[in-house]
């Protein structure tokens, strides 16, 4: 991973050099501090590739039109080394020294949270694609926008899906990791379940890095929950499925905020992964028809793969990041101005459909209008997008076949 990060840095070097002189007047320069090394180097790379892919497309199409003039687009990148305090410094540098007037967000909730107050201070709009914790948006910032669905909506789709499948579902158990993002996911899921008339029979958090959830699952089994929802990270989701089988916990449905969308989920669990639901921001199988150069997720995926052949599956981080550039593109053209405040107002008023789904922001700047999709692992070894029904690829399999009745 280190080496790929280094290579990508080297690949970026010419971009730094060419961007060193003050930006020319016929160019719009976006600033971005993305994690190209450190813990989230891989996701940072997805983010950068997503940004670059759409920026290149804009340039291919001639640029962004403002006042009848076409402007080419460029992104000035820095590496925040996966450290959120570094992100804040670099955003400050981008605004003060490099004089950028538009910011594309970093990777992750924590760095997005440290970048937001800087953008607010200088009244420079930031559209971020990879930070979904609502804590970023409850501080009244006016210049930060997120194209992705917020954390509390992550498991809403799974609950909606189960309710359309089964009118007799009554009880839900929610277990989550004790850290900011997962806590929001867990409480959002529990609140939504209650709102829908379900009884939340179990709601607890476990410590980060837990190695045993048998105590929680034993309790859930005793409560006989119809639906078990997990809000943690990949390792937790794997552990919960493993131990659920160990202990014979057999709900009608199991869903996770993070985990099932990763190929490692199936590799680790083999057949035990079947029937599990996973939340995802975006998949190539969704059937959106957007007003952008690609229109559909599939066309976007094919075009992206043609340009970046190392991707066999397109991670949703890539699509989100392209969507952030789309939002800027449409807002700048609509504002018909390069003035940051006017562009900010145009972003706030945006209401468009894209290959990534609807982009529209609530008063806090979050795209609550885009639903989370739900994927399900099927016994044929594949993963299908099963929700929302209008854009789904396959019908969801429900209920989950009990462990002892599987082959």
């Amino acid at each position: 991973m280190k080496r790929t990060a280094l290579v990508s840095l080297l690949a970026l070097a010419p971009a730094f050099v060419s961007a060193a002189p003050a930006p020319a007047a016929d160019k719009i320069v976006f600033g971005a501090a993305v994690s190209l090394t450190g813990k989230t180097a891989k996701e940072g790379e997805y983010t950068r590739d997503g940004y670059n892919f759409f920026v290149d497309k804009i340039n291919e199409m001639g640029g962004i039109t403002v006042g009848g003039k076409k402007y080419k687009v460029e992104v000035k990148y820095y590496d925040d080394e996966s450290k959120s305090e570094r992100t804040a410094q670099l955003i400050e540098k981008l605004i003060n020294e490099d004089k950028v007037t538009f910011i594309l967000g970093p990777y992750g909730s924590a760095p997005s949270g440290t970048a937001a107050p800087i953008c607010e201070k200088y009244k420079i709009p930031m559209i971020e694609a990879n930070g979904s914790a609502e804590s970023i948006f409850n501080k009244g910032y006016k210049y930060t926008f997120a194209v992705l669905s917020p954390a509390k909506l992550y498991l809403k789709g799974v609950i909606d899906l189960v309710l359309t499948k089964d009118k007799n579902v009554k009880t839900v158990a929610v277990l989550g990791e004790n850290e900011p993002f997962s806590k929001e996911v867990a409480s959002g899921a529990a609140d939504y379940a209650k709102e829908k008339g379900l009884t939340v029979v179990y709601q607890e958090l476990y410590p980060t890095g837990t190695q045993d959830v048998s105590a929680l699952l034993t309790n859930i089994k005793a409560k006989n929950a119809d639906v078990v929802l997990g809000a943690g990270h990949l390792q937790d989701s794997l552990l919960i499925v493993k131990q659920a089988k160990d202990l014979g916990v057999t709900p009608k449905a199991m869903g996770f905020s993070v985990g099932p969308s990763s190929p490692e989920f199936r590799e680790n669990l083999k057949g035990n992964a079947d029937y599990v639901f996973g939340a995802t921001q975006w998949t190539e199988a969704l059937k959106y028809n957007g007003d952008d150069p690609w229109k559909t997720p599939k066309a976007y995926g094919d075009a992206f793969r043609a340009k970046y052949p190392k991707y066999s599956v397109i991670p949703y981080q890539v699509a989100e990041s392209s969507a952030a550039v789309i939002a800027f593109w449409r807002a700048i053209e609509k504002a018909n101005s390069l003035d940051p405040t006017r562009v900010r107002d145009a972003i706030a008023a945006l209401d468009i459909m894209t290959f990534y789904g609807p982009i529209k922001f609530d008063s806090r700047g979050i795209n609550i209008y885009k639903p989370m999709a739900v994927e399900q692992l099927h016994p044929d070894g594949k993963k299908y997008t099963v929700f929302p029904a209008s854009v789904a690829e396959r019908d969801a399999l429900y209920p989950m076949v009990p462990w002892d009745r599987r082959k």
Partner: protein, 288 residues
């Protein structure tokens, strides 16, 4: 809490005690005999997990059958590390041993990261997750098997230390280094065996864990921490103490986790601090 649930929680705690005893066994031995807190212990465990994982993935060896292999690999590695590295600083202050084993941990973890990538892995067999039911209590075969293997290795080590010549030499060295040397014990060889056995036990623990939890190169740290806590809770110097420490740890973890999971770790470590205040000899129980 119903009786059935209580029974299940009790069984969960017993099953966890077994595996944790094996996790801490080698750590306790090395600490007790050589006075080295081996911070690389968790990394040894992870290596053991990878041995089992690759034997299962590439050669389809049953994970339980690969335990001797991972013990042998880790035993050899432990021997080499002791002769080549640890021996150099055996008389140095405690801080130097901390630094060395900490550096070793970083080195091993980064090498695993480099060669095997940071992906999460598990060993999943056709019998993974299957088990039998006793009343309303469910007992998974793998966990039961892991308990059996752990108890066997604990007993085997206890027997070895008590009844064999090398075992007695190891204990003698731990009790009084100079006296042992005077009676003709080859201390360097004894230390190498001790460290190698410790690493071998870590390998076995890793093999078992690979079936129970998803692991990646960074998993080791948390198990070093656990091993440390168990040794403090139980006290050093005796194989039985490890079992006691592991049981206390597992029962607190599981019973607190059953009602207040977000506090389970905090309570376990609070207990540890409390013990240090009230019974500091728990740590220095070497000659007890």
């Amino acid at each position: 809490m119903s009786l059935g649930e209580l029974g299940q929680i009790f069984v969960n705690a017993v099953l966890l005690s077994g595996i944790l005893a094996l996790v801490a066994l080698g750590f306790s031995l090395v600490w007790g005999i050589m006075n080295i807190v081996n911070l690389a212990h968790g990394a040894f465990i992870v290596l053991g997990a990878y041995v089992t994982f690759f034997l299962h993935e590439l050669l389809h060896v049953d994970p339980f059958l690969s335990i001797p292999a991972s013990m042998l690999v880790l035993f050899t590695l432990g021997w080499g590390i002791q002769r080549g590295l640890i021996n150099q600083i055996i008389k140095a202050p405690l801080l130097a041993t901390f630094l060395l084993t900490f550096g070793l941990e970083l080195l091993i973890v980064n090498l695993i990261n480099f060669f095997f990538k940071a992906d999460l892995r598990s060993v999943t067999t056709p019998y993974s997750g299957t088990g039998f039911t006793l009343g309303s209590v469910r007992i998974p075969y793998i966990r039961l098997g892991a308990l059996g293997v752990s108890l066997f290795l604990v007993a085997a080590l206890a027997w070895y230390l008590k009844s064999t010549r090398t075992g007695r030499a190891i204990r003698a060295t731990g009790m009084d280094l100079d006296a042992a040397r005077l009676t003709g014990v080859k201390v360097a060889a004894v230390y190498a065996s001790t460290f190698a056995i410790g690493a071998g036990m870590a390998g076995a623990a890793g093999s078992l864990l690979s079936m129970i939890v998803p692991f990646d190169p960074n998993l080791g740290g948390t198990y070093t921490q656990r091993a440390f806590a168990i040794c403090v809770l139980g006290g050093l110097g005796n194989v039985a103490n490890v079992v006691i420490g592991a049981s206390i740890y597992a029962f607190v973890d599981v019973f607190v986790g059953a009602r207040l999971p977000s506090l389970s770790r905090a309570v376990t470590f609070a207990l540890l601090v409390l013990l240090l205040v009230l019974r500091p000899q728990g740590i220095a129980g070497k000659s007890a």
